[in-house]
């Protein structure tokens, strides 16, 4: 299956773009699994241990199940204010 990952801030700069498309992912897949696969395919992103993820406009649990075609927003540690 295919997942599109949106990147922000430092992740976006290290990737050199604001979106990554991951193809050929094996189902079933949860967010934790996606992060592992992302780290393997894109080591330039650096450590993802402290990176959270959002589905739509809400933080999602690492165990959230992903389906083909979904869009995941990766949220590095926030620093607003």
């Amino acid at each position: 299956m295919r997942i599109t990952v949106q990147l922000f801030a430092g992740l976006r700069e290290r990737a050199g773009r604001d979106e990554l498309v991951l193809d050929g992912l094996a189902a079933p897949l949860d967010l934790a699994g996606l992060k592992r696969e992302l780290a393997r395919r894109h080591p330039e992103l650096g450590g993802l241990a402290h990176v959270r993820a959002a589905l739509g406009t809400r933080y999602a649990d690492e165990a959230a199940a992903l389906a083909d075609g979904m869009r995941v927003h990766l949220i590095p540690p926030v620093s607003g204010g």
Binding site: R12, P76, V78, S79, G80
Partner: protein
């Protein structure tokens, strides 16, 4: 008597802006006859950080989610302070009028990056809400700050 006047402010209102914030305008907008206290907070761009000279800040946001997450933070704020949801508030004592603005893009030194104004019947709730809102948005809003130095830059919050 319901709290009709400005349900939007009782729910909490948030704006993401690419232009200069005006904290004193915010304070004016939350004022209400049933509220005897207005508390405000501004977070302004500081010229130094961890021993380095900062020349400006740059903020990036996941704009669509910022709106949604801030709405949840406003709800949490009312709950935290023991108030009913804005829709269910009926008494003048239950007022809590909240306005928050955050800037994105480049912010010059000395300019506000975030501004909060809260009105409540009494000062304890106004102070508490203001504090809750700034502390919680710093933990949860998907907004990122980059410090720009004379010779480089760093995203704040990132760990090596």
């Amino acid at each position: 008597m319901p709290l009709p006047a400005d349900l939007a402010l009782e729910r909490g209102r948030f704006e993401l802006r690419a232009t200069a914030l005006e904290p004193e305008q915010l304070a004016r907008r939350v004022v209400h006859p049933a509220c005897g206290a207005v508390a405000t907070f501004s977070g302004t761009a500081r010229d130094h950080s961890r021993g380095r000279v900062v020349v400006r800040l740059e903020y990036e946001a996941y704009a669509e989610m910022v709106e949604a997450e801030m709405a949840r933070i406003f709800d949490d704020c009312r709950r935290e302070l023991g108030l009913p949801a804005a829709e269910d508030a009926r008494l003048p004592e239950q007022h809590l009028r909240m306005l928050v603005e955050h800037r994105v893009g480049s912010v010059p030194i000395g300019a506000p990056a975030v501004a909060i104004a809260v009105a409540a019947p009494h000062r304890e709730r106004a102070f508490a809400a203001c504090r809750f809102l700034i502390d919680t948005l710093k933990q949860r809003l998907p907004i990122w700050k980059k410090e720009v130095y004379a010779d480089g830059s760093a995203w704040i919050g990132e760990r090596p």
